[in-house]
Symmetry: D2
Subunit: 274 residues, 4 copies
Amino acid sequence: MAKSKFEYVKHFETEDRCLPNCWIVIRIDGKAFHRFTDVHHYMKPNDDRGLSLMTKAAQCVLEEFKDVVMAYGQSDEYSFIFKKNTKMFNRRASKLMTNLVSQFSSSFVFYWPRFFNKQPLQYPPVFDGRVVLYPSDKNLKDYLSWRQADCHINNLYNTCFWKLVQEKGLSPAQSQERLKGTLSSDKNELLFSDFGLNYNSLPELYRKGSVLIRMKETDAEQRGDRELHNGMRTSSVSFESPSDPSSKLPRIATLHSDIIGEKFWREHPEILDG
Amino acid sequence: MAKSKFEYVKHFETEDRCLPNCWIVIRIDGKAFHRFTDVHHYMKPNDDRGLSLMTKAAQCVLEEFKDVVMAYGQSDEYSFIFKKNTKMFNRRASKLMTNLVSQFSSSFVFYWPRFFNKQPLQYPPVFDGRVVLYPSDKNLKDYLSWRQADCHINNLYNTCFWKLVQEKGLSPAQSQERLKGTLSSDKNELLFSDFGLNYNSLPELYRKGSVLIRMKETDAEQRGDRELHNGMRTSSVSFESPSDPSSKLPRIATLHSDIIGEKFWREHPEILDG
Amino acid sequence: MAKSKFEYVKHFETEDRCLPNCWIVIRIDGKAFHRFTDVHHYMKPNDDRGLSLMTKAAQCVLEEFKDVVMAYGQSDEYSFIFKKNTKMFNRRASKLMTNLVSQFSSSFVFYWPRFFNKQPLQYPPVFDGRVVLYPSDKNLKDYLSWRQADCHINNLYNTCFWKLVQEKGLSPAQSQERLKGTLSSDKNELLFSDFGLNYNSLPELYRKGSVLIRMKETDAEQRGDRELHNGMRTSSVSFESPSDPSSKLPRIATLHSDIIGEKFWREHPEILDG
Amino acid sequence: MAKSKFEYVKHFETEDRCLPNCWIVIRIDGKAFHRFTDVHHYMKPNDDRGLSLMTKAAQCVLEEFKDVVMAYGQSDEYSFIFKKNTKMFNRRASKLMTNLVSQFSSSFVFYWPRFFNKQPLQYPPVFDGRVVLYPSDKNLKDYLSWRQADCHINNLYNTCFWKLVQEKGLSPAQSQERLKGTLSSDKNELLFSDFGLNYNSLPELYRKGSVLIRMKETDAEQRGDRELHNGMRTSSVSFESPSDPSSKLPRIATLHSDIIGEKFWREHPEILDG
């Protein structure tokens, strides 16, 4: 059992340190979630339980990995942003992505019953992950804008698609055919004229996705985000749990804000500035 | 919402294809499992429930990822071997490791109640993962030997350590001090003379760890591994579930064999030969 | 001048160690050599001076880098094979490829006058380089076969092309048109019937390229490669310089052998076996 | 000669694209230049011929590779900066570094006689190369500051060392011992009190190294760098060759400026701004 004569195999591991002074983004995506949502009877086009569970799993990631300064999620994906100069795991890409995807996956299963009550989880879901580096603040903001624009485009399409199926009785194929080649303006018009729905009146959660940041509650108060105190989840900001009102420690806040424009970044300069 | 102007950010992703014609090994390790086993009252030095749950999670990986030809696990780690010429995920390291670590993590939580019954899981556990490439069969076998030798060395030490603590009433520090500088032969002697324990009589599960391979049940029968039919888990081979006796399809078998010597590889040439 | 406050920039360098136990191949290619050969009035389709200079530069590489066990060259390219377990530059890809390409480039310029006499070099030529890893002997031999098959295919085409241009007076465009869609057999037939040329009678240097290996002169003698002693470059083997006849040290031999078949590898087992 | 059955080996090449939106720096270093300078009787501590030849080779690089916006050289090394968004060779690290190191090496040999006249080059010199990425302008400037601070520190030491050897008759070992533990201020004082030399009166070429940038001659004139027109190499700026006075095209200028302070970057904003 001379372990030492086998230890040379350790040298086959390669270093995969992320370039310093870059934003490290880890995006987690559900694998085969079309099937997963079917099997688990998700509401279409948006299932509040499913979206809340995704956000809960993301909150677990932020609680465990203190160098994650922000997360953005929509549909079956979540992106996590590490602070630019993080030294976590010596910036090794493998360590970073596997730890996050593991925390996310096990949290998703762990908290399933809290959101889906009596409906049992049928099988263990799988998420994949990837690491992408962005050298500049602009690159990072453009990445997040890309994901939020994707959220909007998909949600507008899906809202139309499911209205046609659920309320007009079209088959999925017919619905798809009806929407082929339509512009955003066409879809907005369709929703308004055929279904009396103003797209912009839909919850921001559906249209904008979810933004997790670390925020001092007092800051939220000063900015007038007072609705968080009446205990209801609102579109502007919510915290995971009630806190000591005198606490000055940052807590994880969930927003459904626009992050494409500059307003968000002006209001939260600490995200990029560290 | 011109998504297209943000899409340039996709080009920041880098390719991480694994070199062709190499064995791809993915090792998954429990993070902070010392604390995890304490919180969940694992038996020391070995907890059958915990080891079985690890193996169950590994079996889920083999069921979902058909190109995994073998797995080896011990303590809080599991290594997965892909067939040499796998084309899965175009051999992208990130995809391979995140999918496996996610499947493993969510399966671990999903199947927790089956193994720990009424004792609830306290928090979502985390596993990390890494990819290592081995060009030759010898390198791969030496890697597996390294892990199995590690299993043996740790188990021998832990068996002594906990005997001293549990049966002699030594404190952990005293126990550690007692074992300092001892050789394997010293530890075997200690177990025998002070505790009447022949180390080699301990279950192979503890001494050798667990080997998962795909095996036709009929092959196992022909080799005399018949004990699997009485439904109890034995040291030689067990299958996950009862099967159609006429089935010729390979199923996942769990062995606790020595994989350092050549015997195992002679008996299972299909693992390396594809 | 506090150098220390800038030294953090060293941490932006990344490690690029080649996977252990793989064949490291470095291929060097002439950049814009079509123009280079025109400017320097190379004979078409093959210029003995140019080919000899390439081989001279490659010999310099083998003399300086003792872990290179073999080189194969044709046209404006040369491939260098490091011994499988080389520790040179700690196997760092950047170091290996830049050192080799630099040695090759400066040697090419340095020895230009020896091969082109009074015809001066007009400008500094450029070569690029790349590193490729091959895990198995078969992969390595297939790589070399690929390059030698490329040599054959190009040389057969070029021989026809230039015969048509130089002896039949076709324009390059007409010559290209004439050869479009022809098979190897067609080209062999064209050379024989139109130009009375048996392709296989052309020098092996042109048809097979050049193979550099380290060989004890006495071995060459024993194998009957005696023509090297009459001082003329032959197709079978030549050494760079006269040597002490009693020397047992390996010297760099230049062959123009077939390396696609097994014969070469049977005769030179030491290349792969180290 | 079925080339196609070998072509699979192409898939063993890996992509090594540099991360977008980063400064690409390629540093070239002389290999074993201590020996090289001894064999070629370089003046110590600085040889004008050797330094000029290095700069000539670097100029060749800038002439061939139009995306190189700046180079900095000292001693036996030169660093080349590509414009941030270069698409050259699709940003492949291997291609970039091997092309540059090859151009540099062959140019060094090609232009040797122009700088060393009758003294022949004894053997082909070798340079290695590496690629380093810097995400921000500050990182890039700090990198260049690091190299220029290195130039200063080494030159101050070498100036003292060789004064002690050449003028005081100390052995190299004695000279080294004399300088052990001395601060910059001590060395300045030594030069002044023992040799009557004001270190700052030494040529900027020695103290600052060489900076190559692309500059419109008219810009140089307007900034009062007129001394370039009297044909002598000055500390402020020199151009490779006389030019058409009406030319507005940028040419390669050689400066020996301080690049640690902000003045240089204020005067040449186009380097970083593209």
